[in-house]
Amino acid sequence: MAKFFAITIVVIAIASAIPIVMHMWPMPQDISVHGPLIDEQMADTMAEAGISFLAAQFILAAFIWMFSNRSREAKIRRFPGGAMGLVIAAVLLVGTEVLALGVFGTKAWAAVYFTPPSADAMPIQVQAGQFAFYFRYPGPDGKFGTIHPDKIDEANENFFGLDLTNDPAAKDDIVAAEMAIPVNKEIHLLMHTKDLGHSFYVRELRVQQDFVPGLDLSLHFTANKIGKYEIVCTQLCGLGHYNMKAYLEVMSQDDFNTWLKQQAANQ
């Protein structure tokens, strides 16, 4: 049975690796400027994790094969180097490996979080609420009107609680149920939640960030491929969590201008 066990471990290890190696369910192609850094980090980690995984399982299997069913007279042997050897090996190899991953990974993280949005990034505000995303563009005045929670009126489509009568900045705000952005233009996404925790996740953009009640959070990114993508909520927010999504359309600048004009007309 021991030998069968060893073989099973090897088979399972290889079978586990196959879908990864064959790209059976791969990450979608990245469409963002900061994405390649993340993808490179992911590939490096996959290589190191994959090698560690396969090596450990194979050696485990080998030792189970070799050292089961030994005769009563067989001698107990000590692994060369003993415990200290293994400790040193682990500290050196694994230590270097993880420190390298950590150090190089800060670049990708910094690209997302430690660089401020550029001055001409286009501001868009996204509001998350049970169970929909709404997007707001500041309009020609470039200013967002104030949000008044007590004025929120979904029936009359005042999703953000804007004071359209008294607030000049609010009058030209454009509210939409889907998000359109021009390609190759940096976006400064201001995140606001109406009720509780949600999250903004676009796989292709390599972007994910929670909405936190009480905190003004923001993200910035630049999409560099035209197309239609899905924004989904990844923070459990209630019974409609699975259905909470919106489309992100990355368009050419001209198409975007047309789109925005249409939205403005529909307000």
């Binding site: 990974g105 509780l196 925790g197 999250s199 909405f211």
Partner: protein, 595 residues
């Protein structure tokens, strides 16, 4: 440190005579251990049934599950699960499994039974606190179960109960009123039970060791339980205040966690100023040590059983102990890796990520010590050793996905996906479960006086080993594809091609689940009709094997035990057997003294 205890445990009580005193309100640590194990057994089958319901729904969203409507008329009209009921069952699945199975069986169950015996004590120093700790845990379980049957059912906020979803009450969703309060009350009660248990474990280890039982002569299981109880003491002591504050936000109108200006269900929430992230900090400060509380006893049990079945000690017990202690210590400074995309200061993200990566090192050393000790050993294959070896495989598989999640830049993509779910199921749930199985097959004879059936055990092992890989490996692929977790159905465009994978997983889960019924049958059948267990069926060396199976009520029949050796004297050439019992005065010297 007080290396040698001269404290024979003052036996505070004489042998009980009445049924109630013997089997219900017992002060005997062995009975308490069995009660904990029994509670965990009930909990794990409930938790597993919940997972079947979840998986059926995930594979076939509109499936009418016959009988489900009797559990909840509103949650499953005609047997078809509503979206909210999926989340409610999911919340209960996680809560039951983490608290009442993984914290209970390996630690409170086996630890209560074997810790005093393995250190040569007659019982624990505070038997009444110990009895209370079990019954408080039991009450906590009952409180949690009642959530199924009240109003609109159990909470749907997940076992993590993030605020404000879990704090603002019924307006946030079904089950968020009374259900959430019962959840918080149950967990708070559970904390108290665990604190009393940890008190006994720590004091027993420090104070009640028998003559000659120095700290370094304690078996690795004792070290594991001791380290775990130190974690439990500090971690549960933080979760308790958090739950109290959560309950106050619900019933007393306070605003510890609820921010201002929230509009839920068309109405302004009458709370303001609270901190959303405060809950996450408090919860994960508890939550990360908790996952080590779940796994460290398994590390101890697996080491203990492996050594016996390899017929040689580990390359270095000291190193293994040091690694367990390091894991425990580091577990407090890594918790922020659950919060990389939470809106926490991004600089904190880097600060938490480094110790998270470093924690790989002691975990790796543990695996290497095991594998290195297998080299040149004489492995015996039986149900217990199969599960112990399987633990190593599972721990490796579950651990390597941690490489990814420890890095905040990769967590941007993987957070909230099935990759996380795969990681923690493999490294914590399945591995810890393997640890529980290892302990069960190894110690059942000692605990109940009859041996488990080996053939059934091996069948159980094969189906479970292959089955759990079949279930949880695909979770990682789903995660790489961006499959979001905690969804009751997959409506997004990009998720459609993944639904066949979910259906496959469901089938694997049902088959593997059915295999667990073999284990249940084996337990029950062996308990009454299994072959009588000898005193030392495994030719093992630690103190539990010098007494009868099961042990008498004072563990050693009044004998005062004296210990002369380290616990794992195997492979001794100068001796008649290939092992020497810990209390044998036989003079020996082994090369492992080079540690």
């Amino acid at each position: 440190m007080h290396d040698m205890s001269t404290h024979p445990a003052q036996h505070h009580h004489t042998a009980p005579t009445s049924f109630i005193r013997k089997h219900v309100f017992s002060l005997d640590h062995k009975v308490i251990g069995k009660q904990y194990y029994g509670l965990a057994l009930i909990a794990v089958y409930i938790g597993m049934a919940l997972s079947w319901l979840m998986r059926l729904h995930l594979g076939w969203t509109n499936l009418a599950i016959p009988g489900l409507q009797w559990l909840s008329k509103t949650g499953a009209p005609g047997g078809v699960m509503t979206p909210e009921y999926y989340l409610q069952l999911m919340t209960m699945h996680g809560t039951i499994m983490v608290f009442f199975v993984l914290t209970t069986a390996p630690f409170a169950g086996f630890g209560n039974f074997f810790l005093p015996i393995q250190v040569g004590a007659e019982d624990m120093p505070f038997p009444r606190f110990n009895m209370m700790s079990f019954w408080i845990t039991f009450v906590a379980f009952i409180i949690l179960m009642t959530a199924f049957f009240v109003g609109d059912g159990p909470p749907l906020s997940g076992w993590t109960a993030y605020v404000p979803l879990s704090a603002i009450g019924a307006a946030a969703g079904p089950g968020q009123g009374l259900g959430q309060i019962l959840w918080a009350a149950s967990i708070a009660t559970f904390c108290i039970g665990q604190l009393l248990g940890s008190l006994n474990f720590i004091t027993t280890t420090l104070d009640l060791r028998t003559r000659g039982m120095t700290l370094m002569r304690m078996p690795l299981t004792v070290w594991a339980w001791f380290i775990t109880s130190c974690m439990g003491l500090t971690a549960f002591a933080v979760l308790l205040p958090a739950c109290i504050l959560l309950i106050l936000d619900h019933v007393a109108g306070t605003s510890f966690f609820i921010a201002s200006g929230l509009v839920v269900n068309g109405a302004l929430v009458p709370h303001s100023g609270g901190s959303t992230l405060l809950w996450q900090h408090l919860f994960w400060f508890f939550g990360h040590p908790e996952v080590y509380i779940a796994i460290v006893p398994g590390v101890g049990i697996v080491s203990h059983v492996l050594i016996t079945n390899m017929r040689r000690p580990l390359l270095s017990s000291k190193v293994l102990i040091g690694c367990m202690a390091t894991l425990a210590f580091l577990s407090y400074v890594v918790y922020g890796h659950h919060m990389f995309v939470s809106g926490m200061n991004p600089f904190s993200g880097l600060v938490f990520s480094f110790p998270t990566l470093i924690i790989t090192i002691p975990a790796t050393i543990i695996v290497l010590i095991w594998i290195g000790s297998l080299y040149g050993s004489k492995i015996r294959i039986n149900s217990a050793s199969l599960f112990a070896l399987g633990f190593i495989s599972m721990f490796v598989s579950g651990g390597v996905s941690g490489f990814f999640l420890a890095q905040p830049s990769l967590d941007i993509y993987l957070h909230g996906t099935y990759f996380v779910v795969g990681h923690f199921h493999m490294v914590m749930a399945v591995a810890a479960l393997f640890g529980i199985f290892t302990g069960t097959y190894f110690w059942f004879g000692k605990m109940f006086g009859r041996m488990m059936n080996e053939t059934l055990g091996k069948i159980h092992f094969w189906l479970t080993f292959v089955g759990t890989y079949a279930i949880f490996m695909p979770f990682h692929y789903l995660g790489f594809a961006g499959n979001v977790r905690r969804y009751q159905a997959f409506v997004d465009d990009y998720l459609q091609p993944l639904i066949p994978v979910h259906r496959y997983i469901t089938v694997a889960a049902l088959v593997t689940g059915a295999a667990q019924l073999i284990f249940l049958y084996n337990l029950i059948h062996s308990r009454f009709w299994g072959p009588i267990a000898p005193e030392n069926p495994w030719e093992a060396t630690s103190l539990e094997w010098i007494t009868t199976s099961p042990p008498p009520f004072d563990n050693f029949g009044g004998k005062h035990i004296e210990v002369f050796h380290d616990p794992y004297q195997y492979g001794i050439e100068g001796s008649t057997n290939d092992y020497v019992m810990q209390n044998s005065p036989e003079q020996i010297h082994t090369e492992r003294d080079e540690k």
